[in-house]
């Protein structure tokens, strides 16, 4: 029997507010344990939450950017469970009435386009974290993260493959970064993903039993964990077994998941409206304000790149997938004429370097300004493509500017007619057999002569000058 996977994703994104969602403590990452705490976020007796308006604005922004309806009235609820990193014994979240609903994202995966529904976006506070000290047999509580604002973005179960899940997640990640509400750092946990996966016989409408996958801290792991889970469930079903509803934890080092807790251990969160907070009313003016401040989204930017820069659909998609990359591209091409050449250099040489170093564009050792200067030298024929690669490598290594590398290494192109003519004459004299063969019709030998010129100039000859010269002399 053939099975169809059904996948839904739940994404927790930390909002980039300066202060926490219900108190005025800083949200800065990496402070010493419990430095960013106060009576409110440590759950002291008698204290009360006051909602951070900026967090609401960011949530509205995320809702609009993912085509959601913003609810004019939403509500905060208490999600009750006990854990030492949850000081109040409940998390303030939105359960029955979230701030945004009924959105979608259009993705491209497996060679086709697909619209993925977004069920809801709701706001909530983050929990703290435990630090276990096995040597002393103690666990310590750090409440710095407690009360940092989150939005949870829940997709419809519209995804069918791991690559669709990856594409959806990358798109969502790009959008949140574009609109500047989340820094998107998956390692620090500012962008976290859980996946719900189930299988059903092809053609069946009813969903199968699902499992929830946790600890998916990179795009790759999300895809790997989903693939693994599809295979695991397929195996279970094909062997005549039943999938058990459970939460599974992905182990990225072992490339497999293991059961964390079953259905019977699932929490009963006893949600009810938080009486300490009044209903959140969002009026049209607030929504209009957010809409007016909305930056260009990835899709819009891609279309603009296609029309304004005459880029292919593919190139525009690659360059706009990440906001920092798109900005790098636009800064690079500002003084340049040959945009296609700049796009190619970014997509091959620059991105190749980033991949090799496993770093983000924001961490690139070469700035857009310097990179633009390098391409400027290429565009004005002061260096050729080979030399440009050498200069780029030197720039990464030393951080020098391209101009001084060219001077220092003598990489400037030889374009002088007289100088080159003398060389071409010499080469023709030195290689009579090849000249004869060329003249007899072996035109492929042209590259041999070009190679000889490059050899004499140590790669610096300007092919635009040499080519016609060689042709006429031969």
């Amino acid at each position: 029997m053939a099975f169809e996977p059904v996948i839904g994703l739940e994404v927790h994104a930390q909002l980039k507010t300066k202060t926490k969602i219900f108190c005025s403590c800083s949200t800065a990452f990496g402070k010493s344990p419990n430095a960013n705490t106060c009576p409110v976020c440590t759950g002291m007796p008698g204290v009360l939450p006051v909602l951070n308006k900026q967090a609401v604005t960011f949530a509205i922004k995320a809702g609009l950017a993912t085509n959601c309806t913003i609810n004019r009235e939403s509500r905060f609820d208490r999600k009750n469970y006990f854990y030492p990193d949850l000081p109040k014994g409940y998390q303030i979240s939105q359960f029955a009435m979230p701030i945004a609903e009924h959105g979608f994202l259009d993705i491209e995966a497996d060679g086709t386009e697909k619209r993925i529904g977004i069920t809801r976006i709701h706001m909530e506070e983050d929990a703290g974290k435990l630090i276990h000290d096995p040597l002393r047999g103690k666990s310590m509580v750090d409440l710095n993260r407690t009360g940092v604002p989150l939005i949870e973005i829940v997709s419809e179960p519209d995804l069918r493959t791991a690559s669709q899940a990856g594409a959806y997640l990358r798109k969502l990640h790009a959008i949140l970064k574009y609109i500047d509400v989340c820094d998107g750092n998956m390692e620090q946990g500012s962008f976290r993903c859980d996946a719900n996966v189930s299988l059903r016989p092809v053609g069946q409408e009813k969903f199968g039993t699902r499992t929830e996958l946790k600890n998916l801290n990179s795009f790759k792991n999300v895809e790997k964990a989903i693939l693994y889970e599809i295979q695991r469930q397929t195996y279970v079903l094909e062997e005549g077994g039943e999938v058990i509803q459970e939460t599974r934890l992905w182990d990225p080092t072992k490339n497999r998941s293991a059961s964390m807790r079953g259905k019977e251990e699932a929490h009963d969160y006893r949600y009810f409206p938080d009486p300490d907070l009044v209903p959140l009313i969002v009026d049209d003016a607030w929504i209009q304000d957010v809409r007016a401040g909305m930056p260009e989204l990835p899709e819009e930017k891609k279309q603009r790149f296609i029309t304004a820069y005459n880029l292919s659909e593919y190139d525009a998609a690659v360059l706009t997938a990440d906001l920092d990359m798109a900005n790098f591209f636009e800064q690079t091409i500002t003084p340049l004429k040959n945009i296609k050449q700049a796009a190619n250099w970014i997509m091959t040489t620059l991105m190749g370097m980033l991949n090799a170093k496993a770093i983000e564009i924001s961490e690139s050792p070469v700035s857009a300004h310097e990179f633009s200067k390098l391409l400027g030298l290429l565009e004005s024929s002061r260096i050729n493509a080979n030399a440009a690669k050498t200069v780029f490598e030197q720039m990464i290594e030393t951080g020098q500017d391209p101009e001084s590398i060219v001077k220092e290494k003598g990489l400037e192109q030889v374009s002088d007619q007289g100088e080159l003519e003398g060389m071409v004459d010499e080469i023709i004299q030195e290689n009579p057999d090849e000249v004869q063969a060329y003249r007899d019709g072996k035109t492929k030998l042209f590259s041999f002569f070009m190679g000889q010129v490059m050899k004499k100039t140590r790669g610096k000859a300007d092919p635009k000058v040499v080519t016609p010269m060689l042709k006429s002399k031969l």
Binding site: P39, L48, P84, D268, D276
Partner: protein, 489 residues
């Protein structure tokens, strides 16, 4: 002069004229606490040194001409209000040694005027109870008859005012916890409109019902204290932005035009309730006549859903409490059981040993009522009933300005009488609960004394944010009724 007999208004006047000092006044109260509180047990914490220091500071401010309404006035606080640097126990073992790093907004307001905070008053643990017998530490006795309870949960505050251990006291009222002990102790208790007084720093029992208010010797003092305590607080999202009038104007209004033009409603549902003491009925009948004598129109009105108030309250309040009290888990502060081997055991033992039986009972009721599969039948249904009760009041206030009822179905009962029977105890809140469910203000004014020598109070309720009418009518009634002298001792 017996300084301890002064009302807030009288003391204020004499302090301003510099005829008395705050230190003398404070000392007079401290002397009485020293002498009689081992009998009454109104206070959990009294720090005479700190109180006298605050009194000295107040006297200096008065000398400098920087006196405000409450400068130098000794006030008691229910031990549910957080006081920076002074332990705040909620009469619970779990917070026995808890010292807050912050003041409740209400406490800040008293401090800003250099009031003297004379002590932290006993209460039912976490404000859950109607007799102050649920205090984890000791029972407070009624100053009128020490075999009887003072009511609750603000029993320590009411007893302290009645015993003249302070000029006035702050209480909290979730289902009658200011009005009922005030009634049982022969003093005035005012529960303001929900949102009128900030709840910041008040340890929460049931957040949608809790409200802070004054317990005083008379209505004038209650108006003065509400003036100080009320007002919008940005630290409390449920605090109302409504303007704060000068509530003593209600007294001026009475002096100017009496109660003419006011319509008072008596809910017919309350008249035929079972279990009302005949003496309470007699008191109510004579209170009605007294008010009629003041020229009000009295109407019978209907609160059709009032029969369901107790049931709804004892679902909603425990539900909220079950979440509010979750934070007392032994992890960060308060009592922790140290003999546990793992986290779950630590949670269980901490809560089982730290909370008293009534608190545990309400946490369990609340947890159950919110559980998946029961939510709709309990919390959901109770919330619907609450909405109906609100509508009842809205309609009732189309026909009248004030709703009249007794505060409690009986005078103060004997210590131990109802401890074994929580349901009967819950029913003693029957007249006061709906006020909290509806969020409207209510006042308890002494109305008479039973044949056994125990005081009984009259309750008046008014529209949201119309405490002014309660002050006006309450003051009028207080002037017209036979003066009730507090017990001598």
């Amino acid at each position: 002069m017996n300084l301890h007999t002064l009302t807030i208004a009288q003391a204020q006047d004499l302090l301003a004229k510099k005829e008395i000092s705050s230190v003398d006044l404070t000392r007079a109260f401290l002397d009485r606490i020293d002498k009689y509180d081992n009998t009454i047990s109104a206070f959990i914490t009294v720090d005479p040194g700190l109180a006298l220091k605050q009194a000295e500071q107040a006297d200096q401010m008065i000398a400098k001409g920087k006196s405000q309404a409450f400068t130098g006035i000794p006030v008691a606080l229910k031990d549910v209000l957080c006081t920076k640097g002074v332990r705040t126990t909620c009469a619970s073992k779990i917070l026995e040694h808890f010292v807050p790093q912050y003041d409740a907004t209400v406490v800040e307001k008293f401090k800003a005027q250099d009031a003297v905070l004379i002590g932290k008053a006993n209460m039912d643990e976490f404000a859950m109870g109607s007799s102050t017998e649920n205090s984890a530490f000791f029972v407070t006795r009624n100053p009128w008859d020490t075999d009887h309870v003072p009511g609750g949960s603000s029993g320590g505050s009411a007893a302290a005012v009645a015993a003249r251990f302070c000029a006035g006291a702050v209480g909290t009222d979730t289902g009658g916890s200011i009005r009922q002990p005030a009634s049982h102790c022969g003093v005035v208790g005012l529960k303001p409109t929900y949102g009128r007084v900030s709840r910041f720093g008040v340890v929460a029992y049931a957040s949608s019902l809790d409200q802070v208010g004054p317990i005083t010797r008379d209505v004038t003092d209650a108006a003065m204290m509400l003036n100080l305590m009320g007002g919008h607080d940005p630290k409390d999202s449920t605090s109302a932005p409504e303007q704060m009038p000068d509530f003593t104007k209600g007294i001026a209004m009475f002096k100017e035009k009496g109660l003419s033009g006011m319509t008072l409603g008596i809910p017919r549902e309350f008249l035929n309730l079972k279990g009302i003491d005949p003496e309470v009925k007699t008191m109510f009948e004579s209170a009605r006549k007294t008010l009629e004598g003041l020229g009000v129109t009295i109407k019978e009105i209907s609160l059709p859903h009032s029969n369901y108030a107790v049931a709804a309250y004892y679902i909603i309040a425990p539900c909220e409490a079950s979440a509010n009290l979750a934070r007392f888990d032994g992890v960060r502060y308060g009592y922790r059981d140290m003999d546990s081997d793992d986290l779950i055991e630590m949670y269980k033992k901490t809560k089982s040993k730290g909370f008293g039986p009534e608190v545990q009972r309400r946490i369990i009721i609340g947890t159950y009522s919110l559980s998946s599969g029961y939510y709709d039948a309990y919390y959901g249904r109770a919330s619907q009933v609450r909405a109906l009760i609100m509508d009842d009041f809205k309609r009732a206030f189309d026909a009248c300005d004030i709703i009249l009822s007794p505060v409690a179905p009986t005078p103060a009962f004997k210590i131990g009488e109802k401890v074994e029977d929580p349901l009967t105890m819950y029913l003693s809140d029957i007249f006061t609960l709906s006020c909290n469910l509806a969020g409207i203000p209510g006042i308890s004014v002494p109305a008479g004394i039973s044949s056994t020598g125990l005081p009984m109070g009259l309750q008046m309720m008014s529209r949201h944010f119309d405490e002014m009418s309660l002050i006006r009518a309450g003051y009028g009634f207080e002037q017209a009724v036979n003066h009730i002298e507090l017990p001598e001792f």
